[in-house]
Amino acid sequence: MKEIKEISTRLEIAKKKISNKQEEDGGSNAASFGKALKISTELVAAVVVGSIIGFILDSWFDTKPLLTIIFFIMGVAAGIINVIKSAKKMQKN
């Protein structure tokens, strides 16, 4: 019984050490690398989606190239909003 108790206290100490270490690292290098990759594609994807929607609407209503241009600009806005949102989320953590 005594041995088990000793092991459990040792385990707890080791666990504490690990959690302390993880807190020190915070956003480790790999995680920040991942975040950087995430933000760049978010910006681009919204522009692409906006342009595609504009292009489709253009061919529906026969208003080439007006809606493509408008939705391209909206896509850029959406991309910037995406980036701001995920940056805010990062700051929270």
């Binding site: 991942g34 990759l37 978010e42 994807a45 919204a46 909206m74 959406a78």
Partner: protein
């Protein structure tokens, strides 16, 4: 032909041709490597959970670590309300991770370097999460597109922008994974080609470079699986807890 850096991404048919109507369902090398990845995951989980030792063996340790890794990820990003979706996230994470890692082996094929594979995954996630949101919140889920405190004049514009931003999720999710895997493997092949063409005299420099690149690629392979899974968690969180 073998020096062509894009040659490695070619999909070809293995075995007989199977065509249903206009859909070609033949077994390709892509399907083969998906099958290999899936079997590798099943083998790892089976061997890891067969003998439940108090002091874990190596394979049991890896299995338990992957479990706690994903469980912690879900808990940190989506909270406890996302617990029932653990199998879903775990499956996606393990599948993408194993496809990426199997692709790092010589002579293998990287399934995730094709946009149709990653896009199919991302679209299924996107549709599934939208359905979950509507089941959970009903028509109120559309409030996601109406941010608080926006003047009424700007509202139509903002709603369209929010919808574009929402629709861009599957694209950004799939393009990120596909582009990283394809770019990395192409780069490896290009540097490999340099080794051959520079020969014994100058080939050492690109050889060293490609060894370093393999290390980087393994990091990217893990990281992209992680990012894919964590973004799924974040989207799930948006669907489960509307205002956070």
């Amino acid at each position: 032909m073998t020096l062509n850096p894009m040659h490695q991404f070619e999909v070809y048919r293995l075995g007989p041709e199977i065509i249903f109507g206009t859909v070609n369902l033949s077994f390709t090398n892509s399907s083969l490597f998906m099958l290999i990845s899936t079997l590798a995951i099943l083998a790892m989980l089976y061997l890891g959970t067969k003998k439940k030792l108090l002091v874990p063996s190596k394979i049991q340790l890896v299995t338990e670590m992957s479990y706690t890794f994903v469980a912690k990820m879900i808990n940190d990003t989506a909270g406890s309300s996302a617990k029932p979706f653990f199998p879903f996230i775990f499956t996606i994470f393990m599948f993408v991770l194993f496809c990426n890692m199997v692709g790092m082996l010589p002579y293998s094929f990287t399934v995730t370097s094709h946009i149709i594979v990653t896009f199919a995954l991302a679209v299924f996630i996107f549709i599934g999460i939208t359905i979950i949101g509507f089941i959970k919140h009903g028509i109120k889920y559309l409030e996601l597109f109406v941010p608080k405190g926006v003047p009424l004049v700007l509202l139509p514009l903002i709603v369209i922008i929010e919808i574009i931003s929402y629709l861009s999720r599957p694209i950004s999710l799939s393009v990120r994974l596909f582009a990283n895997m394809m770019a990395g493997h192409t780069m490896l092949k290009v540097f490999g080609g340099f080794v051959i063409s520079l020969g014994l005299l100058g080939g050492w420099l690109p050889l060293g470079f490609s060894i370093a690149l393999i290390g980087l690629e393994i990091l990217v392979a893990f990281l992209q699986a992680y990012v894919f899974a964590i973004l799924t968690c974040i989207y799930l969180n948006d669907a489960l807890n509307l205002h956070h």
